[in-house]
């Protein structure tokens, strides 16, 4: 999941307090979840694009995210195109069933909503080290054990991916190529040679890591020290203010015009 993994850098986004970035994400999520309006989502996406550029996150990766979500977007759009109950204006017919413009727009809006939510995540994860994130969670009085589990899990996904690649290669060397199998064969027996060693190796790694963590005084003191100091600067205030103003304005407009998720668009 390199799209989510931290990339070292010294962009302005890297310098922001993790709590600021977390707040930005929460605000964007609330606005996207509550609203149901294409313009709102396009504005949010433009704002996020600016953040991506500021954080020096390659926009090509935005395309990767869209590619990953494309299937979901297609399903949204096709289902709604045919099934949307307020669909009136047919665009074309398939086997006598109308595909409506209203349904198409509904599907696209829904897809943009998902895109807003997903593409806000890298703003935090790509520019924040795990230890800074833990540090800021501690400031927010979230128990350390909980944040440590989160951090280790993030770390572990990389490791699992690496182990999986090794296993895939090992089996490939014995003439076993999952990519050359059809869907049904894959599901029935394709994954056993890959997942069996994966589970065993991950358990083994986890057990060693457990040792290493215990040996390094994990949970020894109730009052843990955090060496990374996270300060709020003027930039944090500027960033939060911008997102706050945009979010509140959009929310107010949408509530006034009834463009929120509870009331379906007419």
């Amino acid at each position: 999941m390199s799209i989510l993994a931290y990339t070292p850098g010294d962009s302005i986004l890297h310098k922001l307090n993790p709590i600021t970035k977390l707040t930005i994400i929460v605000l964007i999520w609330i606005t996207s979840l509550v609203s149901f309006d294409m313009t709102t989502f396009l504005i949010l996406l433009s704002l996020l694009t600016v953040f991506w550029i500021l954080g020096k996150i390659s926009l090509g990766e935005m395309v990767t995210i869209i590619k990953l979500l494309l299937l979901i977007f297609l399903v949204f759009t096709i289902i709604n195109g045919f099934m949307y109950f307020r669909g009136k204006t047919p665009l074309f017919y398939v086997l006598g069933y109308p595909f409506t413009i209203e349904g198409l727009l509904f599907g696209i809006t829904l897809s943009l909503k998902v895109l807003c939510i997903v593409s806000s995540i890298p703003v935090l994860t790509r520019t924040t080290t795990i230890s800074d994130l833990i540090g800021s969670f501690a400031k927010m009085r979230i128990p350390y054990t909980l944040t440590f589990i989160l951090a280790t899990a993030i770390n572990f996904t990389d490791m699992i991916n690496e182990i999986y690649q090794n296993i895939r290669e090992s089996q490939l060397l014995r003439g076993y190529s999952i990519d050359e199998m059809n869907f049904l064969k894959r599901i029935i027996k394709g994954y056993a040679p890959l997942f069996t060693p994966l589970i065993l190796l991950v358990l083994k790694k986890a057990s060693t890591m457990d040792l290493a963590i215990e040996a390094r005084a994990f949970g020894a003191s109730r009052k843990r020290t955090y060496i990374s100091e996270l300060k709020f600067t003027i930039y944090d205030i500027v960033f939060i203010s911008i997102v706050l103003v945009v979010s509140i304005t959009l929310l107010m407009i949408n509530i006034i015009y009834g463009k929120i998720i509870l009331i379906l668009p007419t």
Binding site: T129, L173, T208, I227
Partner: protein, 575 residues
């Protein structure tokens, strides 16, 4: 000397009833560096974990006897109370590093102890200074070399200012450069900081130079204990226990066996050189005309042809792993591919079997472009055994594990059964055929991994670091297997940084550095080229260095083994 650690009559049983340690009695003085040797499964790791209290606090089991660590019995304390005073460093550098920067890794334990921030930073500074990682604070541990990672693990253990360090095979996963880095760090810690160190290790040539005392474990029992010059010159015992005798010690033991009188057998290279000088000066030994039996083997036609291959990992920033690599391999050769970690060896192997596709250049197998073959076709031609056997074992029995590849390449059930039985016999795993692969020892699992590739009857077999994580016996077993296959006609390419194995088994070596082949020629020739080896971060076997110190007296410079050196000497009766 005050005692840091006292172990009295200590025995330990795992919950399945296996007894891992038997009546261990062992003391360690303050400032001492004690090395524990023993085969895989001898109880070394159990001993380390017992000392820091992980056994039985985290891994339970039955205990008899007592351990006293600076006045504390580990059983009665939380692990962190013990590890404040004793730092633990494990074998695998990867799985003991879990944060995203060198600094955060080092301070982790001190943060957990809730020490004041300034003190933590001061300690981290000190620890990084000692292990030589100053300036790497912001680096991601993933981007460090193996040796650097292991030194980072040492720094992370030092931050609590322990009185003692316990290290479980800290160099077993490292190349020669990494090994030297880690061991010289330990030497520095002992000499400059007065650190007490308990370490388990296989590499007898290296440990002779830094250890104060050596303990040998066999089946959970201490069978030998003493100074390196006593224990490591007891060649008969080491051979009996299948442990690696240091080459210098072994050489002098052989001389003594042949009637050369020696007061004390030297074990380090420096001692060895000065004794050798005296023996020559007094005329006790003289050089004899000796030609190594290098009868030219007739190889078959060219089987692999690599032409101008380039490969770059498309990371940020990109890493050039292969830079214009060209060579040819003939049928029936046994070639060693050597170089430090990151020199491009593994990438080259992966290109050879088509796991990676070169950016440019050609790899031909008997004239056909390798990348045009399907996975199945490649598997029948070139086999590659990767480092970790556990990354491929998934079947319920040893037999099924071997059948897996055979079925994948589309053989008939009769042929599958025939080849399975043949290969099981060949590697000596016949009696285990119905066992679950994970019931085998690590060494046997490795053999199984080799067998499952060999069964497909490839014309070329490539082994990537076949000796990593293995003890002395395991290393030789796997290489003997490779040699046997080679004698039966299989072409063998062995990627390794085990120089004594390269010297013993291979006929030709490719030395790699920075993605390029910097030497391609006979093994004997390569060991003469100190400049090349140094550039590749490698060192010839110690016996070669010892022989070279006697070149003034007419000893060949390309001696590769103790046996060759002995054969090039003659004893003179001195009145």
């Amino acid at each position: 000397m005050p005692k840091i650690l006292e172990i009295d009559d200590y025995s330990f049983w795992y919950p399945d009833g296996t007894q891992a340690l038997r009546e261990i009695n062992l003391d360690i003085d303050e400032g001492e560096l004690l090395t524990v040797m023993g085969r895989n499964g001898a109880g070394k790791t159990t001993l380390c974990l017992s000392v820091v209290g992980i056994i039985p606090n985290i891994f339970p089991g039955d205990i008899r006897g007592k351990i006293n660590v600076m006045g504390k019995n580990p059983i009665e304390h939380y692990v962190y109370e013990i590890t404040k005073d004793i730092g633990l460093v494990l074998q695998d550098p990867e799985s003991q590093i879990f944060t995203h920067s060198v600094l955060s890794e080092v301070v982790f334990a001190a943060e957990n102890l809730g020490l004041p921030k300034d003190e933590i930073l001061e300690r981290a500074n000190w620890a990084l200074e000692i292990v030589g990682l100053k300036g790497f604070e912001k680096a991601h541990p993933k981007n460090l070399s193996g040796g650097q990672k292991q030194r980072l693990a040492i720094a992370a253990a030092l931050v609590t200012k322990p009185k003692m360090l316990v290290l479980d095979e800290p160099t077993s996963q490292l190349d020669p450069v990494g090994t030297r880095e880690v061991l010289s760090t330990l030497k520095k810690l002992k000499e400059e900081e007065g650190m007490t160190i308990l370490m388990t290790e296989h590499k007898s040539d290296e440990i002779t130079e830094i250890s104060d005392r050596i303990v040998v474990l066999e089946e959970g029992r201490i069978v030998e204990e003493g100074e390196p010059s006593e224990v490591l010159t007891n060649i008969e015992m080491l051979r009996k226990l299948k442990l690696k005798p240091p080459e210098i010690g072994e050489f002098y033991w052989e001389l003594k066996e042949r009637g050369v009188s020696l007061e004390k057998l030297p074990v380090t290279l420096t001692e060895g050189e000065s004794v050798l000088k005296k023996l020559f000066e007094r005329g006790i030994i003289v050089a004899k005309d000796f030609t190594p039996n290098g009868q030219e083997k007739a190889y078959r036609d060219i089987i692999i042809e690599v032409e101008g291959v380039n490969f770059e990992y498309k990371t940020h920033p990109p890493v050039k792993a292969l830079d214009n690599v060209s060579f040819k391999i003939r049928g029936g050769e046994f070639v060693g591919i050597i170089g430090k970690n990151g020199s491009g060896k593994t990438t080259l192997m992966k290109c050879l079997v088509g796991l990676l596709k070169p950016d440019s250049g050609k790899i031909l197998f008997k004239g056909g472009e390798i990348s045009n073959f399907t996975a199945r076709e490649r598997a029948k031609r070139i086999g590659l055994v990767l480092q970790n056997p556990d990354a491929q074992l998934f079947s319920l029995s040893v037999s099924q594990e071997i059948e897996f590849g055979l079925k994948n390449i589309g053989l008939t059930p009769e042929e599958v059964a025939r080849r399975r039985d043949e290969v099981l016999k060949l590697v000596g795993l016949e009696q285990y055929k119905n066992l679950h692969p994970f019931q085998l020892s690590f060494g046997d699992r490795k053999k199984l991994a080799v067998a499952s590739i060999v069964a497909m009857n490839p014309e070329v077999l490539i082994m990537d670091e076949p000796t990593t994580g293995q003890d002395h016996k395991g290393r030789y077993d796997i290489c003997d297997l490779a040699k046997m296959l080679n004698e039966r006609g299989m072409t063998i390419l062995m990627v390794t940084h085990d120089m004594d194995l390269v010297a013993k088994y291979t006929e030709r070596v490719l030395v790699m550095d920075g993605g390029r082949v910097i030497f391609d020629g006979p093994t004997r020739e390569a060991f003469k080229r100190v400049d090349i080896l140094r550039q590749a971060g490698l060192m010839p076997p110690r016996i070669t260095l010892l022989a070279r110190s006697a070149s003034n007296w007419g000893i060949r410079q390309d001696i590769l083994s103790v046996e060759e050196f002995i054969r090039s000497l003659e004893r003179r009766e001195v009145a």
